[in-house]
């Protein structure tokens, strides 16, 4: 008889509880034995929409693929178009592209840190992480005009310049952010409870990471040394000094370390870009995109974004293939969660850093008793496990 006792009766109060889909975990007792993934809840047919828009409009459409990677997809898209026509981009625009991308990486990783804290029961980390994220959104608003959906990229350059009077404001905010991040880093990475909670959990081996084509921090935490900014240099990344952060253990703790240390690197990159950015135009004003095919790649906070665009000489893409990094990372969830406990499933999924909405949609089905647990229950289980570890360790 199964000793797994779900605590929530069947009775839909979450939109997706009616039909157990999206992440359906099948458990036996405490252990996850199988997982089925069904996506499509966010499928808006963007590739087809892009075919009916002009190239300029497509850039705004792809910005809304994922709100958090809101500059990565446009950078990839414009690079694919520039690849078709071998269009040059002015130096200053390259530096501005790097600055915008790194600011996005900062806000995305800090957002992730907050959510991970929430899933583990560290609600202070959630509140403070998101509080420290606000000045980054302020910088974004100062530089680009909006907290999210920046509308900064265009073929041949960027749409807005960074004014001289904003540079000292940005640097001051980044100094504060560095101190706050340092404090959070100490609190999180030196916490013995988190060591016990996260080390050895959800390990993705190096071989599996390569076989699944994993990207970004998920791959780098498993010892796979890939980073589009270094390997396929774009924007201004080959003009400044920075490090690719890797770990070897492949567990949730390693993924946390990678993301935290990457934030320090991002601050350093932004500082160097602001210092080295030359004066000059920000737009090479290309007239049109010729017929041909092009590929763009960029390192989003979650990994490599990849766009393939085929142009037939008209003003619209004939085909626009978009591949977000999470598309390659999601399948690794199957690899990392089978054999783990239900209470770890939430943090293992969160460690892949999918969209918040996607993590909302996980449910558990107990094979034997046909009982269902919702995402809220699983978050509670996860927080409960942390509390028990803390009590055991700290008395």
């Amino acid at each position: 008889m199964s000793n797994y006792k779900p605590t929530i009766p069947i009775g839909p109060y979450h939109p997706l509880q009616e039909e157990p889909e999206f992440y359906k975990l099948v458990v036996d007792g405490e252990k996850v034995v199988d997982v089925d993934v069904r996506i499509g809840y966010n499928h808006r047919g963007i590739e087809k929409v892009s075919e009916s828009k002009s190239f300029d409009q497509s850039i705004f459409v792809v910005e809304r693929i994922c709100g958090i990677c809101s500059s990565s997809h446009p950078i990839t898209c414009v690079q694919a178009l520039e690849d078709i026509g071998k269009i040059e981009v002015p130096e200053r625009a390259l530096y501005i592209r790097s600055i915008v991308q790194e600011l996005e990486r900062l806000h995305s990783h800090m957002l992730w840190l907050g959510l991970a804290g929430h899933f583990l029961g560290y609600n202070t980390v959630f509140m403070w992480g998101w509080k420290y994220r606000e000045p980054i959104c302020d910088i974004m608003e100062t530089v680009t005009g909006n907290r999210q959906n920046y509308a900064m990229l265009k073929v041949g350059g960027v749409r807005r310049d960074i004014e001289k009077e904003h540079v000292s404001y940005i640097l001051t905010r980044l100094d504060d952010f560095w101190k706050q991040l340092d404090m959070l880093k100490g609190a999180i990475l030196d916490d013995p409870v988190l060591h016990s909670r996260l080390k050895g959990v959800g390990i993705l081996s190096r071989e599996a990471a390569i076989d699944y084509g994993a990207l970004g921090p998920v791959a780098r935490a498993s010892g796979v040394d890939i980073d589009v900014r270094r390997d396929h240099p774009y924007a201004a990344y080959d003009r400044i000094k920075w490090n690719v952060i890797t770990q070897n253990e492949g567990d949730v703790f390693a993924k946390t370390v990678v993301r935290i240390l990457e934030m320090f690197e991002s601050v350093s990159i932004i500082r160097q870009c602001l210092e080295k950015m030359p004066a000059g135009p920000i737009d090479s004003n290309p007239k049109d995109v010729p017929a041909g095919e092009g590929i763009g790649q960029a390192e989003a906070p979650r990994g490599e974004c990849f766009h393939y665009i085929k142009s037939d000489g008209t003003n619209s893409p004939m085909r626009h293939k978009i591949r977000a990094p999470t598309y390659m990372n999601f399948p690794t969830f199957r690899e990392t969660v089978i054999g783990q406990t239900v209470s770890d499933a939430t943090i293992i999924l969160a460690a892949i850093d999918p969209c918040y909405c996607c993590t909302e949609r996980m449910i558990v089905v107990d094979d034997k008793d046909n009982n269902i647990m919702t995402a809220q229950d699983m978050i509670r289980l996860s927080q409960e496990k942390t509390r028990k570890i803390r009590e055991r360790m700290l008395g």
């Binding site: 084509g213 590929i295 990849f306 293939k321 591949r323 399948p331």
Partner: protein, 155 residues
């Protein structure tokens, strides 16, 4: 390894099976092959040349359905794309590469439901993105499919 060395290796190994190679700059190359040779070439790219599989993409073109398999050589920073054109648009099919790499697991499901391509040997071609009640035989990313434009407020 340079991109020319990669193209040279592919030509040496596969000879007449390579229909055409085409470079667009130092960092991009496209290699055209017959669909029936796809598994051998993908295995060679991944295992022998140690490239990374980025993604596959399908294009509904005049001469058929093109399936492009994109591979990166990360340390050198270039992308080599293998192109296989399936001429039969009524029943397009090609061998699956999921036995060679798990990274193609989802994209084959997606290309199956959005283009109607059958991946022979792939036992999991369930819908990934579209709703279950999506009509069979209707493939949204084919050029023949026109998205319904409807301003509901005017009706």
């Amino acid at each position: 390894m340079t991109i020319d060395q990669i193209l040279g290796s592919i030509n040496d190994k596969f000879g007449s099976k390579v229909l055409k190679t085409h470079k667009t700059g130092d960092k991009r190359a496209y290699v055209d092959i017959y669909p029936k040779d796809i598994v051998d070439i993908v295995r060679f790219m991944l295992k022998d040349l140690s490239l990374r599989f980025n993604i596959a993409s399908a294009v509904d073109d005049f001469d058929g359905i093109e399936i492009l398999y994109h591979f990166s050589l990360d340390p050198a920073g270039f992308v080599v794309t293998i192109r296989a054109i399936i001429k039969d648009k009524e029943d397009p099919h090609i061998d699956t590469i999921t036995n060679v790499t798990k990274a193609a697991w989802w994209i084959e499901r997606e290309m199956h439901e959005l283009f109607g391509v059958n991946f022979i040997g792939n036992t999991d071609l369930r819908p990934l993105l579209l709703p279950d009640d999506w009509p069979k035989g209707v493939y949204p990313l084919r050029k023949s499919f026109i998205s319904p434009k409807r301003d509901s407020r005017k009706s």
